[in-house]
Symmetry: none
Subunit: 83 residues, 2 copies
DNA sequence: CTGTATTTGTTCGTATGTATT
DNA sequence: AAATACATACGAACAAATACA
């Protein structure tokens, strides 16, 4: 898995991260009801600030792909929820 | 012992706390094998958030001065471990 | 064996300041 | 000016392991 983050291009870092996770969801690598990586693990995995990781999660929420439960995590929605 | 925390300067609070504890270690006030103050006690003593106390401990770990045992505490390493 | 207290682990929420683009 | 990104800091909730009475 490349999962390279580019800061020199036109695509915001948070969108790039969200896209990676969205791809995981759509490919079934993270199934409905299961948690996506925590903000902290995104920070570690992608080497970004937590602020950026949060934006990525927000982006996924905006697309209806996930739902966050405070202090628990962010979970993949049922497949039909993102339509 | 002053141990004043300054929030108006350029030195992060967590670094200031770590420096205080590092000084205690280097002065022999906390000996190898013994525990440094818990996160909770740092919160109380310095009036900071736990997040900040944890950063201070992390900073000490990064310097090789201490080692954390989960659910037990954080302990001073042997003197030669920090070289 | 059974609680209770202590301690670190983990997670998201919120805010501020700075720098860069 | 506005959006993006990083770093710092405080809050809050709950989990889990450990230690001990």
């Amino acid at each position: 898995m490349s999962r390279t983050i580019r800061t020199d291009g036109p695509i915001p870092v948070y969108v790039q991260i969200a896209d990676y996770i969205a791809a995981d969801i759509k490919a079934g690598r993270i199934k409905p009801g299961y948690a996506i990586p925590s903000e902290t693990s995104m920070v570690q995995e992608f080497g970004v600030a937590r602020d950026t990781a949060r934006r990525a999660v927000q982006h996924l929420r905006d697309q209806g792909l996930v739902r966050t439960i405070p202090h628990r995590g962010t979970f993949v929605e049922p497949v039909d929820a993102a339509e």
